[in-house]
């Protein structure tokens, strides 16, 4: 019953089957980030001291160009040789290149400094992209939401490790020796990758001739992908500005190569520490409580403040602070949030899209950033403060785009769920043409009663003008049913033919009364004799007469008929007409209906029909009254009230539900759900009577599922019902889409509701989790297990509990001591 790793699950929110994958991936990220941050410090220090920071915009352009070549090869390689093999190959190439650079720097040729700068950028982009690509295949959407932040911790520790190593080794062995350390770290990743439990490559998809063009069209065709590209592009421009300013200011303050390397290492170290603290204390909470939207907004917001500070006070410390802010958020919440943005993309195209966006946007963004910097520094010779203000302008655009992307992210999940929703088939009626009408008129003279009735049913949809010639024949028809149907068809069109004496004085008295009941509505003046006649017809012994009288009462607004109309809701044969008549009274009958719904003396058969009738009014007043009655009526009636509310909400977006009342109802249902699960769990451990316990457990399962359905209905009252029901149906019938469905829900519900509903849905449909109990519910004995059922409102559970209690009193025989369970 207990979770196998309660500590890990509770504290880290990582489940047992995920633990191995999380640990390996965290360590893998630690190593590649450590290697990258180390080689980056080496590259930066060597470049700015040997070549000079003024040349940085040119090298940014070189990087953008080189990225173009690499991205082309990379996107094809992923599909051709598989992700795992590609990662291994990349690591081996990186190790050999690092050794080559170490040897190359002995020659002191400037070409090596440019080459290392470009190489380090490509190395960082490829390894990080490969890592997150691997991660999205190893974890589904729900797992990703929980574990990405912990995997991200590995990356941050990598930054800390890289920074510390850089600081120490640069001082002791010199800057160039760090390249050997990096080669060692990359070699370790090769060993680690072999230990991944699921090493199957994601299924390859056919590479098109013009794949890049196709991807470009796909990105352009999707508003979501386009916005992602724009956001990433602007972020890269800002990053180029920050990088340039940071290095420019650092070189101006520190002259020694090794000291500069150590300074870069120190900043990286502190960035790592800050990222770690944020990741551990905040990232998961923000992602779970506020979702992706906040996660991708934090970095630009903090950068905006830092850039404005640098513009006001340009110095080594404000530049370092800007770098610290950039690094701290980039490697923690921002990275996790940005990776989540890829999840709504179908897995078949995610590889290629991600590769394309990472590479294409990276090179375009860098190129744009480099060109802008060239223009502003070489062309306009702007100061650090001016550059900061311009960068701040870009950050404002970034924030606006992040807001749009967050909205598109939610919509993408919604579409994914909706596409798989089976929609009800729509039927279209053909318009009657002349030939059809002629055929139907011919049928009216048939000797077969069923054929005549069928033709009348169809013709009743058309104006009686088209079959008036048959009326005399129909009045004289030997079948009472045909005569009655004829009157009903004419009456539905308010045709004055029903007032003819052939109808109202028909020799068959029932036909005459039917005609009288229908004719009353044509000339109603509310005279005493009309009321008297209608009263007598409403209580006629013939249901057909009563049916017509009810219709008339509704049409003429005969208030004295209210009690009868409500009573007739219990009568299967007259319910439809009674409901239609009631609806004709609009608002007026709602208070009476509500009163009779809540009146215990009223027959249950009548009360059961009132909620739907109230729903059909479509009035806010009816919705308010139904909501007020929620959880105040007996078990079955209460469910009908909830169904009626669902119906109203689904029928009209204008109907508003009191959010506080609904939230309180959800809480109540959630408590009931937990209680049922706790009792069931107790019974499973302490079976008291095999058959009876089994029956009770089954009934508890059924009732828990019923409670879940009620919770979903309640949530749908205060959100878009179609979305909520789509999520529920997907969870019930399509396990493969469950994570995406719940992820969507996670993004549309507000924090409090999300905390109550999302875990419940996750647990209810996960067989492993369904055996756990969510909240502390203490069940100590059979008596305490049965007590809530005996006192509860569910009559069926009460029946089983009473029987179980009775048999317990008689003694079940050998059952030993009951175990006491303290559910967490």
């Amino acid at each position: 019953m207990r979770s196998p790793d309660p500590f890990v699950e509770k504290v880290f929110d990582v489940r047992r089957p995920e633990l191995r994958r999380v640990l390996i991936m965290s360590t893998y990220l630690l190593l590649i980030i450590a290697a990258y941050s180390t080689v980056k410090a080496v590259r930066d220090s060597l470049f700015v001291t040997k070549i000079g920071p003024e040349q940085l915009p040119y090298v940014y352009l070189l990087i953008a160009g080189a990225m173009g070549v690499v991205s082309l090869a990379y996107t094809r390689a992923v599909n051709r040789i598989g992700l795992h093999r590609l990662i291994r190959t990349t690591s081996l190439i990186a190790i050999s290149n690092l050794l080559l650079f170490w040897l190359g720097f002995r020659s002191n040729s400037v070409i090596w400094f440019y080459a290392l700068y470009v190489w380090a950028s490509i190395f960082g982009a490829i390894t990080a992209s490969q890592f997150w690509l691997l991660a999205t295949h190893l974890f589904d959407a729900r797992e990703a939401r929980r574990v990405y932040s912990w995997i991200g911790v590995g990356g941050i520790l990598g930054g800390v490790l890289g920074g510390a190593l850089t600081n120490v080794v640069a001082h002791s062995l010199g800057t160039e020796a760090l390249l050997i350390v990096c080669a060692g770290m990359m070699a370790s990743t090769l060993v680690l990758l072999e230990r991944l439990p699921d090493r199957k490559d994601p299924p390859p998809h056919p590479q098109e001739e013009n794949a890049e063009g196709a991807l470009f069209r796909q990105v352009r065709g999707s508003r979501y992908l386009t916005m992602m590209v724009l956001l990433l592009g602007v972020a890269l421009i800002v990053e180029a500005f920050i990088d340039y300013q940071y290095k420019f200011v650092a070189k101006g303050s520190i002259a020694s190569k090794d000291h500069l390397t150590a300074f870069f290492g120190s900043v990286t170290f502190y960035v790592g520490i800050a990222s770690l603290l944020f990741q551990v204390l905040m990232t998961n909470r923000i992602l779970k409580r506020f979702g992706v939207g906040w996660a991708i907004l934090l970095l630009p917001s903090a950068l905006l403040a830092s850039l404005l500070t640098l513009a006001a006070w340009p110095s080594l410390w404000t530049a370092a602070a800007l770098q610290l802010v950039d690094g701290a958020f980039s490697y923690s919440i921002h990275r996790s949030g940005m990776e989540l943005l890829y999840l709504p993309i179908p897995p078949q195209t995610r590889n290629a899209i991600k590769g394309f966006i990472d590479m294409f946007v990276d090179r375009s963004g860098r190129a744009a950033g480099a060109l802008l910097l060239l223009l502003l520094t070489v062309g306009l010779a702007l100061s650090t403060s001016s550059l900061s203000l311009i960068a701040a302008g870009f950050v404002v655009a970034w924030i606006a785009m992040a807001v749009v992307v967050q909205k598109e992210y939610v919509l993408s999940f919604k579409h994914a769920v909706e596409k798989r929703t089976i929609e009800p088939e729509a039927f279209q009626l053909r318009k009657s043409d002349g030939a059809t009408l002629k055929t139907l008129r011919g049928l009216l003279s048939s000797e077969d009663e069923r054929q005549v009735l069928y033709a009348l049913d169809l013709l009743s949809a058309a104006n009686p003008r088209s079959w008036r010639g048959s009326i005399n024949l129909l009045i004289q028809h030997p079948s009472r049913a045909v005569r009655a149907r004829t009157i009903a068809a004419l009456a539905s069109w308010n045709d004055p033919a029903i007032t003819r004496k052939e109808f109202t004085h028909h020799p068959d008295l029932e036909t005459a009364r039917i005609a009288a009941a229908s004719a009353l509505r044509l000339n109603w003046k509310d005279l005493p004799k009309e009321r008297q006649l209608l009263n007598s017809l409403l209580y006629d012994s013939s249901p057909v007469v009563v049916r017509e009288a009810i219709a008339t009462a509704g049409i003429v607004g005969y208030r004295a008929s209210w009690p009868l109309l409500i009573d007739k809701l219990a009568d299967k044969s007259l319910r439809r007409e009674a409901r239609q008549a009631i609806l004709k009274f609009d608002h007026a009958l709602i208070p009476e209906l509500v009163y009779r719904l809540s009146d215990n003396r009223e027959p249950l058969a009548v009360r059961k029909r009132i909620p739907k009738t109230l729903a059909l009014t479509g009035k806010q007043e009816a919705a308010d009254a139904l909501l007020q009655n929620l959880h105040r009526l007996d078990h079955h009636l209460d469910y009908l009230v909830l169904k009626a509310l669902s119906k109203m909400r689904a029928a009209s977006a204008e109907i508003r539900m009191d959010q506080d009342l609904v939230n309180a109802a959800i809480q109540q249902e959630s408590d009931q759900y937990d209680r049922l699960r706790a009792i069931r769990a107790w019974l499973e451990v302490n079976p008291v009577d095999e058959k009876l316990s089994g029956l009770l457990m089954r009934a508890l399962d059924e009732q828990a599922r019923h409670r879940l359905e009620r919770i979903v209905r309640l949530v749908a009252l205060i959100h878009f019902p179609h979305d909520i029901y789509s999520v529920y149906c997907t969870c019930e019938s399509r396990p493969a889409l469950r994570p995406a469905a719940i992820e969507f829900l996670d993004n549309v519900l507000e924090a409090g509701l999300k905390e109550a509903v999302v875990p419940l849905l996750e647990e209810a449909f996960d067989p492993a989790m369904a055996r756990q109990v969510r909240h502390p519910v203490q069940v100590l004995s059979l008596e305490s297990a049965l007590a809530p059922l005996l006192a509860g409102d569910d009559p069926w559970l009460k029946v089983i509990a009473t029987e179980l209690q009775k048999r317990d009193g008689e003694g079940f025989g050998e059952r030993g001591n009951c175990r006491v369970i303290n559910y967490r």
Binding site: L692, L695, R698, E702, V799, I800, E803
Partner: protein, 149 residues
């Protein structure tokens, strides 16, 4: 129309006992336990002694039977087709089709039965639409299974 096996109706089973028995009946397999209690409420209990014919081939079918205890032999043209034991049903199609019986059911030993009359069953369905849905689901599954065979 089949005649009753006994003059006096026996009431030996509680609602719970009826549900426990009905939950193994194929046509009610998708019904919740609460739905089974409603079905149980229209089930009449009957006894048949060893050798007694419960229904005969050619009789008009108007009810299904659930064996509570004992065994019932089903035969067609004198050939045994199946033996129905505790928790199983016979004559189920009578609920959906009022055609003459195609088999004869005979008690092999003293049996206790639950009889569900089709007219009462339809009344129940008209009051409980949710039962109609689950019964239809089981019937469709059964038909699909037969077609597959």
């Amino acid at each position: 129309m089949e005649k009753d096996l006994v003059n006096e109706e026996i009431v030996a089973l509680s609602t719970i006992d009826k549900v426990l028995c009905l939950q193994t009946v194929d046509v009610f397999k998708h019904a919740t336990t609460e739905m089974l209690s409603y079905i149980g409420s229209i089930a009449h209990e009957l006894d048949a002694s060893k050798g007694q014919v419960i229904f005969s081939e050619g009789d008009m079918a108007d009810a299904m039977y659930v064996v509570v205890t004992g065994r019932v032999r089903l035969e067609k043209a004198g050939q045994e087709i199946l033996t129905v034991t505790s928790g199983q049903s016979c004559g189920t199609w009578a609920l959906f089709d009022d055609q003459p019986r195609v088999m004869t059911a005979t008690a092999i030993e003293n049996v206790h039965l639950m009889k569900i009359r089709s007219d009462e069953f339809y009344d129940l369905l008209s009051d409980h639409g949710e039962i109609t849905r689950v019964v239809f689901r089981a019937v469709i599954e059964r038909v699909n299974h037969l077609l597959g065979d």
